[in-house]
């Protein structure tokens, strides 16, 4: 069979993530330290796991309603209002999804027509452009800058806006930069978008991991509420990555269309996970605080450590990543990561993997033990010292 001629042109055009090879090396390495993961190192809190187990014992193993159990959606609505002052009607403005990823995919598919343009700030998580391309839309990458704390500025947005722009992705708190957007930042964007029909996809999966201040959603602004689709989930806030629990909230006419995609493609999100999610929504706020507090301590330690060693980094105010600037080493991001792994057995992720704006930076995840962070810093110090010596001798 000539599969090449059979396969969809769009799917063939998607480029696989370039760092698979890097992970292959890492898997072979027995005593490597990894600041490369992108998920919490905590196990899901027991009371949440227990609720999932209990639902299985009771035999709750059937499909739920397409949009997710009404009880869960009510709990999510109350959680969003309690924690972020966001008001959504559980019956018409919300779908429980298979992780935030499905919610992102559905938002793109429900909104985009071939030829539409989607503005995607980069560096950012890698799924937005491929999912946009699968609809036939065009991804327009907006390179955020360290000087702007990796925010999407009104100037940058304006420079990318065309009559074809349909959607702007706002992935904040941001993976990999740790950048966040505040009220004034969204007010400035609102001004740029005034009078246009452009929608926002706000990926708020790291919302609970905002340090020293409250997360602000574009949907908190009355002017942006009607043009924003909010994606969130349980993976990062409640350490529930493997349960695949997310949700999408937005204007009822959009959610209504999305529900068709969800119904035909997924049927309903996993029932066991939905029961666990109810417990997380009703009794999980303390877990969130506890984990955030722990991440915050590690964040400060890693940032101070990196700066002490001599790698400049902007203050990450959200998510669980630090994004140091490695341009001073004279290496590209890919070279830096590969050599750091081979020479010191520490894995960090090349900023270039997150889009063009990431070159010159690397992503260090602090969702790992203090012991590993401390050891990684010692080895990084070694690596940079050796690198300087080699460069002085003209060897590197």
């Amino acid at each position: 069979m000539n599969y090449d001629s059979i396969l969809s042109e769009r799917v063939k055009e998607l480029r696989p993530s370039g760092i698979r090879r890097f992970f292959d090396i890492l898997e072979e390495m027995k005593d490597a330290i990894s600041l490369g993961v992108g998920e919490p190192d905590f196990v899901t809190p027991w009371h949440i796991r227990d609720a999932g187990i209990y639902s299985l014992e009771k035999g709750f193993t059937k499909y739920t309603s397409n949009a997710g159990m009404a009880g869960l959606r009510r709990d999510i609505a109350s959680y969003l209002e309690r924690r972020f002052d966001l008001k959504y009607d559980f019956a018409t403005q919300m779908i429980v999804t298979v992780g935030g990823s499905e919610a992102i995919d559905m938002t793109m598919r429900a909104l985009l027509n071939p030829g539409d343009e989607v503005i995607i700030p980069v560096p950012s998580f890698v799924c937005y452009a491929p999912l946009a391309q699968m609809t036939g839309a065009k991804a327009v990458l907006a390179e955020t800058r360290v000087e702007d704390e990796f925010k999407l500025t009104p100037e940058l947005l304006k420079s990318c806006l065309t009559p074809k722009t349909k959607l702007v992705v706002v992935p904040f708190p941001n993976n990999p930069t740790g950048g966040i957007m505040e009220k004034a930042d969204y007010e400035a964007l609102a001004e740029v978008l005034r009078g246009t029909g452009v929608m926002l996809l706000s990926d708020e999966i790291y919302a609970e991991l905002t340090y020293g201040q409250h997360h602000f959603s574009p949907a908190n602004l009355p002017e942006l509420y009607d043009r924003t689709v909010v994606v969130n989930g349980f993976s990062k806030s409640h350490a529930m990555t493997g349960w695949r629990m997310g949700y999408v909230c937005g204007p009822a006419p959009i959610i209504k269309q999305m529900l068709k995609l969800h119904q035909f493609g997924i049927m309903s999100a996993p029932t066991t996970s939905q029961y666990a999610a109810i417990e997380a929504m009703q009794n999980g706020d303390r877990d969130i605080e506890k984990m955030r507090d722990e991440y915050d301590g590690r964040r400060r330690y890693l940032v101070e450590g990196l700066r002490r060693i001599g790698l400049p980094c902007h203050e990450p105010r959200g998510a669980f990543y630090v994004f140091p600037d490695i341009r001073g080493t004279g290496l590209s991001s890919d070279e830096f990561c590969e050599r750091f792994l081979m020479e010191e057995k520490v894995a960090v992720i090349s900023g270039a993997a997150f889009g063009p704006g990431g070159e010159g930076f690397v992503r260090c995840c602090y969702a790992t033990s203090m012991k590993d962070i401390a050891e990684a810093l010692t080895r990084l110090d070694n690596f940079l010292t050796n690198l300087k010596k080699k460069q002085g001798r003209g060897e590197a």
């Binding site: 890492l26 993961v37 992108g38 301590g297 330690y301 101070e304 450590g305």
Partner: protein, 159 residues
């Protein structure tokens, strides 16, 4: 300040640097605070939690319920003090309910523990009764779980 104590309580091997970053203090502030805690006996000591069952050392731990007659003017303090002075005694707690003191003791053998209870504890003049429970297995102590946990299969994915 409570933050620093919480951090030390959960892991006293954290370095001064780490404690300072995590508690939002300077290293000097951390050192001064720890010194004060130690001087004022707010921090009593630093110990490892050991699972002796994984070693060759034989050890027996028992929890003893003790009934005592309180002393005029001193309540239970005097008898508690007479009990906690023994090296074998790990912990002593004053309890509400059916008995007065919980005493946790450890010894090398069952016989050693029985000897301590029969000869030393039960014979104290204010002790009116004891009930000894041997600890068969420890599952969790100080938030630490003794059983080695199984790890989920590790597969690197790009997130």
């Amino acid at each position: 300040m409570a933050k620093l104590l919480q951090l030390l309580e959960s892991d006293c091997t954290l370095t001064r640097d780490q404690l300072a970053s995590m508690a939002g203090m300077t290293v000097e502030e951390v050192e001064a605070a720890i010194k004060r805690y130690e001087d004022e006996k707010i921090i009593l000591g630093y110990q490892a939690v050991v699972d002796w069952d994984r070693t060759h050392r034989e050890a027996v731990t028992a929890l003893i319920e003790v009934k005592v007659t309180p002393q005029r003017g001193e309540g239970f303090d005097r008898v508690a003090e007479r009990i906690y002075q023994y090296d074998e005694v790990e912990s002593v707690y004053l309890m509400s309910g059916a008995f007065d003191l919980t005493v946790i003791i450890s010894g090398r053998t069952l016989k050693e523990v029985a000897h301590f209870v029969g000869e030393k504890l039960a014979t104290l003049e204010d002790v009116t009764g004891t009930a000894t429970h041997f600890i068969l297995r420890k599952y969790k102590e100080n938030h630490l779980i003794f059983e080695k946990r199984e790890e989920q299969e590790k597969e690197w994915i790009f997130v």
